[in-house]
Amino acid sequence: MPSAPPTPSFTGMIRLRHLTKRYGDKTAVDGLSLELEAGAVTGFLGPNGAGKSTTMRLILGLDAPTSGSALVKGVPYAELERPLRTVGALLDAKAVHPGRSGRDHLRAMALSQRIPLRRVEEVLETTGMAAAARRRAGTYSLGMSQRLGIAGALLGDPEILMLDEPVNGLDPDGVRWIRTLLRSLARQGRTVFVSSHLMSEMEQMADRLVVLGRGRLVADAAMADLLAGTGTAVRGPALQPLADAFDSAEWSGPDELSVAGVAPEEVGARAHELGVLLHGLAPVEPSLEESYMKLTEQSVEYAADRTGRAEEGGTT
């Protein structure tokens, strides 16, 4: 399952081939090959230091790869004329001159691409930044900076959106807003590439997950596959016959049983056959967190990072 492109409707909007970046003797990105298709949100997951931001900088040509290549619609980013019309990126929300207003920051970007200045007002509205647009960016909260950064990414109405940890610093409303926005952009047929170090953020956002660990591709899977494999939880006073009937049954309490990999319909039918009295019967989806663990289990060297990430995940 990992590493095969999950969907056939594949257009290769962004194509990474054996992309490698070393800083001194530190390998930040290690032979990463990846293709991103249009019309989907691809989640780019990995613990802090995994190489996600570096990968995005390489795609934008901000850093030069040590070897390998990163192509956007078949060409290096640097060869795109008016690149913001093809790729809208938010790499670092705080990368704004603190003395310049949000509106003037966007206007300078628009001028550089021959984008009409009224488009600046549109994206300010879309991102809820219109009221704060005249304030100097140095006075913005992290959440406001993220919104301004997203406004900048949307400015050129691009086919590809690339956002590095856009949810950082946003309140729950903001998180929901980003999720809805990215889903709708993907539905319009755009390519959305969004990174996070928290699995929980990806759960309702991504169609596909690409997991990076220490610069290497650890897993690449469709979200639907990850969430597949529904199990069943049953409750009742005398469940022993049912526990004997399913190999995967496990006691989760004195009168509770969970049956992995078996649908509620089947468990219910079996209970009926066996004459077992049930007080409760419910489907159980494996948490994405568990699937993530399973996905990354193969990668031994990744194990240390994974526990670190799991702790962070637990606090959110």
Partner: protein
């Protein structure tokens, strides 16, 4: 193939938007206006406070303004050139600049044109202010003509090329304080040290070399020797070219 069609066509055709963006950025940070105001205030103070040398035959307005440029204004407007790029490195907004305009050369050319043009305008205005105020003060207003206008233009040109030198240094060093220190050393200490060494060791060519450093060359330019504009153009253009090269070979 579709790949070919998205490739960049003519270079010159697309530097315009980058220039507009740089101009907008320069005009929308307060530091630009503080530096310009500071340069004007320094010039005005000198024009108002400079004393008469007692000889009624010599015209004072242009020499006073030239003194003010050499002693104060050049550092302020040189710093304006530096901050135009180091401010972007400090805030990391340079990444946005390169995302918008991936060609490092194009960014550097746009910045040089904007900084050069803006500082020429500001320098010209500040110099004109100094010459005008001093002329009124010393009763020379009647004698102001084309020659004085040319002197003012020379001051503007010197300051513009110096700001480009600052821009190049700022791009190379990426830090405001470091670039400013180098600029001050280059303007003040290097010619002094070269002159000192020339006298100490009797090496006339060191004296000549000192004349070709930016501040003495600027003095010559402001004294009407326009050929020194080429010397300053070499400094400014060389620094900008070195900056463009550094941007190309370095990660952002």
């Amino acid at each position: 193939m579709s790949a070919a069609s998205t490739r960049r066509p003519l270079r010159g055709a697309t530097t315009g938007p980058a220039v507009l963006a740089e101009l907008h950025k320069l005009a929308t940070v307060r530091s630009t206006w503080w530096f310009t105001g500071g340069a004007a205030a320094a010039m005005l103070a000198i024009a108002l406070l400079a004393s008469d040398d007692g000889d009624p035959a010599t015209a004072l307005a242009v020499p006073i303004a030239t003194q003010a440029v050499s002693n104060f204004v050049q550092f302020i407007l040189g710093a304006l050139g530096i901050v135009g790029v180091t401010g972007e490195f400090a805030s990391r907004s340079i990444t946005v600049t390169f995302a918008c305009t991936p060609s490092r050369t194009r960014v550097m050319v746009a910045k040089a044109l904007v900084v050069g043009g803006a500082v020429f305008a500001a320098g010209f205005a500040v110099a004109a202010l100094g010459v005008g105020v001093a002329a009124v003060r010393f009763d020379e207003a009647a004698g102001i003509g084309a020659a004085e206008a040319a002197d003012v233009a020379a001051m503007g040109l010197y300051l513009a090329l110096l700001a480009m030198l600052g821009l190049g240094l700022g791009t190379l060093v990426r830090r405001t304080a470091g670039a400013l220190a180098i600029l001050v050393v280059l303007l003040v200490m290097v010619p002094e040290l070269l002159g000192f060494a020339a006298r100490k060791f009797g090496l006339a060519w060191l004296e000549t070399a000192a004349d070709y450093t930016p501040a003495p060359a600027g003095w010559q330019l402001m004294s009407g020797r326009w050929e020194y504009a080429l010397v300053l153009l070499a400094w400014g253009g060389g620094a900008v070219a070195a900056g463009a090269w550094a941007l190309k070979v370095r990660d952002v």
